[in-house]
Amino acid sequence: MLAVTFETVRQLVASGIVNGSAYGLLGVAFALILGVTGRFHYAFGVLYTLSAYFAFTLFDRVGWPILISIVIGVLITVVMGVGIEAFIYRPLAARAGNNSLLAIFVASLGLGVAGGNLIQIFWGAQTHSLLGVTIKPIGILGANVINVDVYAVLAAVLLVGTLTALLRFTGLGRSIKATRSNPDMALLVGVDPARIYLVVFAIASLFAGIAAVFAALKYSVDPTMGFRPVVLAFVVAFLGGTSNSPVRVYLCGVVIGLIETISSIWLSVRWNQLVVFVILVIYLASFSFNRSLFARIRQVVARPA
């Protein structure tokens, strides 16, 4: 174990931060949706993958410049995300009432399954490369990363920072937070939750789309590219807390990324993929036992005797 050199650790930390930053960005997006709208948006993963495919098609097949392809690709994803909320989730929620969480999860599951297979029907199961950005190695504090990694982390920090500022300093942000804590009360003070939900889906889809494009530039575009990062995003969102500050959720993502890479010092590659889920299960178990306490406090305080 002592044979682990400083170099290796430095390298693992760097790639942990890079991976974790992506998980964090996705986690922030998923937490925003779950926290504000209460929808378990499983189709999030398909939107992520689609964004990469749109950018790839526009660049590689249509022949547009890379930057424009990416922007248009991400924008289509945003429109789709908003469309799913407006035309599928909202009518379902109106109909299902109290059971809407499960009904929406099932519909979202359906969208995810259908979307994933449609991608394979249209684009095939093979892997594509999204070129267009020349990959250059960059050394930062002795660790070797590539230029795309640096852009990805900067973009993530910028987006999460902007969202945090938006929530804290603008009227829209206050409306989002009001809707998050109580949609009915928000409606009473003149905030339209339906509109806020659309905004939230737009922001989250934007984040997912941008994260996907960076993943596509670094690795490749394939039909299952969305599964693992998005499942990790679910984990990050729950560990970070769906009603906490985006900064905290993002940092939680970075920590998960670090745990994942650094555990490879002791564990084989296969095992370290499990580490995160083992942590999740332990966390949920402890949460389950503590929660009973919190639930009771809330019940007692909220219910007038």
Binding site: F277, L284, S292
Partner: protein, 592 residues
């Protein structure tokens, strides 16, 4: 022929997956997206034993099922108190961990899985062709269906549905919710393990992709298609999902690889459409495949009216005419109160949540055959007292003794078993059970709620079930709701559901009844009926404690009254004494 048999075999195997998941999801209300990975435990287990130790596949399947069941029960422990979104995430995590483990071990073939599992044999015959599997699989499916039906549609299933719709209310009736959840997780995961072993044996291989997360989702989809809470629907759902592929290959003549992509696409889209148009699934809960949909409606020829039941209306009338003399009766009762034996003794009960004091040094007694009222302003902590007494909140200190037995530290269901049952301010009837089933849920000591009895002694279970039904009808008649016995409780008006909830509490046969605002939120006519019933309960010698805001109600019912302010009992006595106290009268009763 062999092609058709292949699909039928698959439907039979996946029906077992779907039936068991339906029991978990549709009956017990526990969401799991890890069902196929529990199948993997069975599949890999049976396959490994078969390849390396030459075990018969069916023997290995039993071992696999037991292991899957044990792991399922362990997973249930963190899942016990989680809400739906956390359960989805937890089972997703469990699915990833299990599949990750299976691909990690080189002994299990890594990412390729176990290939070349020897053919299974049964009574000396090797199951070589797909058609050989038809009869054994059909027999196993029938057995599994029988078990699921027994668990889902008898007394046991009634408790499961109660847990699904309102775990706290179910626990307050003396049901051990924790044990039921762990047991049902274990049982359904064991069934999944069995199905997984059969699938592995049938395909002669156990691979990660055979039990992947996508497979879990398709099992989930089968249950949703068929209709949650309806077992026959799950078989229909399994057939629908599996037959889409050959149907596409045959009807649209698609190539097999493309057909399987379209199959998944179609069922995905179908899920979306189904949620929009028919969320209850093809066969809704309670409906039967072979009987016309109007069957249920036809049996109750006369639709019961919303009006107050006849005999209650008459009693209410009686009371109004004799109301003038009630003052004297009440006074006489109050004199008796002190002579009655103490049933419940509460001493020094305290509870603080951080800096909020919910209860401070509460001491009170309930006496046999009397009605005690707990009054006080909003936020005084009256409902908290009920929560503390019944174990829903653990006090920081103090003691609660029921007939001399200490109740602090036990669970809410044990408190109910010991003979003290509460009702809820917001009623909390189980909406998707009928009125009579709601009341049956209250009856204690049911053989059909124990696994051993359910499968070991069917005769006794049937006998007891009849008794329980008669008892429940008896109580429904008592509260005047027998005409509504078969109505689902969710369709009742608020006043009606309060009466059903009262019948449910009475059916527990508990000595001590804690009634949380029994007369609130219902109109005057119903209030009279309700109060008449509570008086009758007192006549039966039961001990009643009510929390109430309506002073008329307290005046009429209470033999003794405690007054609460900010978590403290500040005064007690007869209601007349309290209202004549100048301080309380000025501050609260407005009758200076």
């Amino acid at each position: 022929m062999e092609v058709a048999a292949n699909y039928i075999d698959q439907i039979l195997i996946f029906s077992i997956f779907a039936l068991s998941l339906n029991l978990l999801l549709g009956y017990a209300g526990q969401v799991s997206v890890a069902h196929a990975s529990f199948g993997a435990i069975g599949g890999y287990g049976a396959g490994y034993l078969s390849i390396t130790h030459g075990w018969n596949l069916f023997l290995g399947a039993i071992v696999g099922a037991v292991v899957a069941g044990i792991i399922g029960a362990i997973v249930a422990l963190p899942a016990l108190r989680l809400s739906v979104e956390y359960l989805i995430l937890l089972t997703l995590g469990v699915s990833s961990v299990l599949l990750g483990l299976f691909t990690t071990f080189p002994q299990l073939g890594g990412t390729y899985g176990l290939i070349g599992i020897p053919p299974a044999s049964l009574f000396g015959y090797d199951l070589l062709k797909t058609s050989d599997w038809l009869i054994p699989l059909a027999v196993i499916l029938v057995v599994i269906y029988g078990i699921c039906h027994r668990l889902g549609e008898t007394a046991y299933g009634r408790v499961l549905k109660g847990i699904r719709d309102d775990p706290e209310a179910t626990q307050s009736l003396g049901k051990n919710v924790v044990w039921f959840k762990v047991a049902i997780f274990g049982i359904t995961c064991a069934m999944a393990g069995l199905a997984g072993a059969l699938l592995a044996g049938f395909n002669s291989l156990a691979t990660p992709s055979q039990f992947s997360f996508d497979v879990s989702l398709s099992i989930f989809a089968m249950v949703i298609f068929g209709g949650t809470g309806n077992l026959a629907g799950s078989i229909l759902g399994a057939a629908t999902v599996i037959l889409t592929k050959p149907l596409l290959e045959w009807a649209v003549s698609l190539a097999p690889e493309i057909a399987s992509l379209w199959r998944l696409t179609l069922y995905g889209l179908l899920l979306v459409v189904l949620m929009r148009l028919r969320p209850q699934g093809l066969v809704p809960e309670g409906a039967r495949l072979l009987q016309p949909a109007t069957w249920r409606a036809g049996s109750t020829t006369e639709q019961p009216s919303e009006a107050l039941p006849q005999h209650l209306a008459e009693e209410a009338q009686d009371w109004k005419t004799s109301a003038g003399s009630s003052g004297a009766i009440v006074a006489a009762r109050e004199a008796d109160w002190i002579d009655q034996p103490v049933v419940l003794e509460v001493n020094g009960l305290s509870k603080a949540f951080g800096s909020i004091v919910a209860a401070e040094d509460l001491s009170m007694v309930l006496r046999k055959g009397t009605i005690t009222a707990l009054v006080g302003p909003n936020g005084a902590g009256k409902t908290t007292v009920f929560n503390l007494l019944t174990g829903f909140i653990k006090p920081d200190s103090g003691s609660v003794k029921l007939n001399g037995v200490e109740l602090i530290g036990t669970t809410p269901n044990r408190v109910a078993n010991a003979g003290m049952v509460r009702s809820w301010q917001d009623v909390r009837v189980i909406p998707r059970l009928s009125s009579v089933q709601n009341v049956m849920l209250g009856v204690q000591e049911q053989d059909g709620e124990r696994l051993a009895g359910l499968f070991g002694n069917p005769g006794a279970v049937r006998q007891r079930e009849r008794e329980v039904h008669d008892e429940a009808m008896e109580w429904l008649r008592f509260v005047g709701m027998d005409a509504f016995a078969r109505e689902s409780a969710g369709a009742l008006s608020f006043g009606q559901s309060k009466l059903v909830a009262l019948a449910r509490v009475l059916a527990t046969n508990a000595d001590v009844l804690l009634l949380d605002e029994p007369a609130s939120g219902i109109d005057r006519q119903w209030v009279d009926a309700m109060l008449g019933l509570i008086e009758k309960v007192r006549e039966q010698g039961r001990t009643v404690c009510i929390v109430e805001h309506n002073l008329m109600v307290v005046d009429r019912l209470a033999d003794h009254t405690y007054f609460m302010e900010l978590g403290r009992i500040t005064d007690q006595g007869t209601f007349t004494e309290l209202t004549s106290s100048p301080r309380l009268a000025k501050a609260y009763f407005g009758t200076a």
